[in-house]
Assembly symmetry: C2
Homo-oligomer: 513 residues x 2
């Protein structure tokens, strides 16, 4: 058995079932070892950002480590942006990166680079294996690091001689940690402050936005009248009819500050203290006054459990009353706008759908409309590194093959990682992509206006404009083997989306906004 | 005047005329400042790897700094792979990266990351500006660092408050260094060894592969019988009819070692000691014995000048006799193969063409065939980070609008940065892209065979196969606004390429191999 085989067997024993791969020469022993391990599926991405974004989506849906296999520093670098999102999402991702043989590294061959320096900003754990004998144990440690709740990015660099040299055998999976309960006293202190508050809110993150956490949060709300809030870009929200309603904070800091100013208490449950997405002159970075904040559970703690304890401490009812049914938006007609797109999607999306929202400005309206949709999962762009949507949808579909995945995708952002469509076609994934084609970087046009540049000059206009030449997403999709159609009206969208949802397999609808 | 304006004026004064840009919110003051500077053109890339690869191509053609404008850590990260190539090419590139306002950084907003750690592996110089007052001076230093001959990658991080806060004014351009002559004695020592050698070779790199360097090298060859060699992936070679012929070292180390074993002396002129691209079990990393090597000029020294001095020391003729005209390959017929593709291109390419070769296995034959082509420039994938060809061709076309650019592009590699096609369409660049469509990662299939895996299993086959589903490059190109056609025979290719070369503006030919 060589090092690569010992690693792959260790991976299987640790519960890894799938590898998002874009390997090269330095990873071939691992490819050969995967070939001999029937328990691990290998999914090829044509670009590393597809692999890492898919790993993020897979880990978000399953809550266990996703594995990537990438090619040295430059290949890994192509995956960094989506690992940045995964890091912010606290997704459990193990990156396995091949490197030159240890004895070849000193010669500084063309592909040599400082992989540790590249990996550190997006990895909670980085290690370089030193020999074939330690490779399996190193990998077991990587899986353990990635599994550390709620999840982390762990990166193992495997020089190729550590893969092909003889090894003893696989390593045993490391014990899994569980999410720690918050320190004693926080529940009582939070209950006390909630009792005194006139207008409290809970800011929910991670586990607090999943089924159990939300039920507990709803009990707290029933006992205290607290509003339920989440960040503008949540990791994974269980939502839809019958589930507690959560309000997203606005994106722009002035509006978020205004919303939070209506609360005299903000309880943080699995969420960090909210901050502005960007700094603006004259605008505070913090969105809520420190004095109004009360920490119940950090993202590294069991927010759902803490909320249940809090509800008990508040003597809340064992079950919150079901929320009053939200009305589905009226069937829109006429022109396609972000609002009519959001309404059509909310009306048609099936029960159990996974909605991956990188709709940017075009997706803002959808979230509210989907309150009345059948129960579904909602995944957002956690780290602001655009090009996350199509890969994340790909990974979510691989994680949950029985569920329909809907990718609500801004056109500008989608172009960063459009190669994901090919993986969707190859694996025949059940993903419907809705391209929000406003043919611009609309958010930057808004930001220019915010910066007081009411009439941008030719260059500023050109740098935010995607209409010249027009990008034909239906051609791009077909180029990658995904059937596609373009819609110009609400009626066309309704028909196309209904058809797409009735079929299985990938398809793309370019929605002309 | 704010910091951004002071920087942009400094850039113009330092000779910057073009900016390869993919900005976001943290770069908007720079965008606004560019709007007010008519002397700098802004070219939008839909993906940062397009910007950095184009900067590399631009810098290789013009020999002066190319500027990129990128969005924080994740945006920059998308450009790292092609900066890795630029670093290996010793291209002069200045990266300007926006970041959060200095006072916003401590809040760890979603897009915050350690940009210095990301940038260091690909940058010879990295600095973070601390105030608007220093931003212009910092940028002047960045340009000076990038300009340090033969060229370097320099990265300046500009927090957004340093852009929008008031500044004093632009900074003066720093003095330019010139390429140092090699230390005294090397020319004499080299001449001595050359006189004693029976089968010498010169390994040429950087300036030694350009017109003046090659003329000097040819004089040395005339006096000593030395063979003229270059690395398998040279930065920029002036070649074609009438120019000294240079032989590329083979890619695989055994073949390169065999070739070099035929020399008893290897003079390094602007090239590093040759090493294997990858390490393989039982194969030495060095391609030539150390004892056979003689350093004339490092890549940081004036190799062309040293070669001229060497020719003088050898009392070589003032001008080498013109090389015997190489015969153009016979017009091929029938099936499309890498050989027939190379022959057709060599026969049709016009004088002054710039050929960007990321053809991988499909491009190997072309280099030899093109010896007899009209004078042209040849640019290769210097760092092995694939996805360089289409962006590099884009930058070369912007640098040299009067010259025809031909992009010889492997299909697998091209898919990493296909968004470059849109920039070619938007700027109406004179680029003909030839996609070598073998629908596989052929090099990996060869490497699997080399690794003794004669019959790869299903997974190894799948991870090197791009035929399922087939990728339609003509659809992808049209999606980005580039006219495209597919050819199945030599005759179709000949017709399509002739038409493409007669027209101006971008087009793509998918060559079915």
């Amino acid at each position: 058995m060589n090092g690569a085989e010992s690693l792959v067997r260790t991976a299987r024993a640790a519960g890894i079932e799938l590898c998002f791969a874009n390997p090269g020469t330095t990873e071939l022993p691992l490819v050969a070892a995967l070939d001999r391990e029937p328990g691990i599926r290998a999914v090829l991405g044509l670009f590393e950002g597809v692999c890492t974004g898919a790993a993020d989506g897979y880990a978000r849906m399953l809550g266990r480590p996703a594995l990537t296999l990438l090619h040295l520093g430059p290949g890994f670098a192509n995956g960094i942006a989506n690992l940045h999102n995964a890091r912010r999402a606290r997704s459990a991702v193990v990156n396995l990166i091949g490197d030159h043989a240890t004895w070849h590294l000193p010669y500084d061959a063309p592909l040599t680079s400082d992989i540790v320096s590249l990996a550190s900003p997006v990895s909670a754990w980085v290690r370089t294996s030193r020999s074939a004998a330690t490779l399996a144990g190193d990998f077991a440690d990587a899986v353990a690091a990635a599994s550390r709740p709620p999840g982390q990015v762990a990166t193992l660099i495997a020089p190729s001689d550590c893969q092909w040299d003889p090894a003893d055998g696989p390593a045993r999976p490391r014990p899994r940690e569980s999410l720690p309960r918050p320190e004693a006293g926080r529940v009582a202190a939070t209950a006390r402050r909630l009792r005194e508050s006139r207008s409290p809110a809970l800011l929910l993150g991670l586990g607090a936005l999943r089924e159990a956490g939300l039920s507990a949060a709803a009990r707290v709300a029933a006992a205290t009248g607290a509003a339920l809030l989440c960040e503008v870009f949540p990791v994974h929200v269980d939502r839809g009819v019958g589930r507690p309603r959560v309000e997203k904070l606005p994106y722009f800091p002035e509006q978020a500050q205004e919303r939070l100013a209506r609360c005299d208490l903000l309880v943080l449950a699995g969420a960090r203290s909210p901050v502005a997405f960007f700094g603006y002159p004259g605008v505070a970075s913090r969105l809520a006054p420190e004095s109004a904040e009360q920490l119940l559970a950090t993202p590294d703690e069991d927010a759902a459990g803490a909320l249940a304890d809090l509800a008990d401490a508040l003597e809340a009812p064992a079950r919150a009353p079901a929320p009053a049914p939200a009305p589905l938006p009226a069937p829109p007609t006429g022109a396609l706008t972000p609002a009519s797109l959001g309404a059509v999607l909310a009306r048609l999306q099936p029960e159990g759908a996974i909605v991956v929202d990188e709709g940017a400005t075009s997706g803002l309206v959808y979230f509210g409309a989907a309150e009345a949709a059948p129960p579904h999962s909602y995944l957002a762009l956690t780290g602001g590194a655009i090009g996350q949507g199509l890969p994340c949808a790909t990974g979510a579909a691989l994680a949950c093959p029985q569920r329909k995945v809907i990718s609500l995708q801004a056109d500008g952002s989608g172009l960063y990682t459009l190669q994901a469509l090919w993986t969707q076609a190859r694996e025949q994934l059940d993903v419907v992509t809705l391209i929000c084609a406003n043919r611009s970087y609309r958010i930057l046009q808004l930001e220019l206006a915010r910066a007081g540049i009411a009439e941008p000059g030719a260059k500023a206009r050109a740098l935010t404009d995607l209409s010249h030449p027009a990008i034909d997403w239906t051609a791009l999709a077909r180029g990658f083997g995904v059937p596609a159609t373009r819609v110009q009206t609400v009626e066309e969208l309704t028909r196309a989306l209904r058809n797409a949802l009735d079929e299985s397999g990938p398809c793309l609808i370019e929605v002309m906004l």
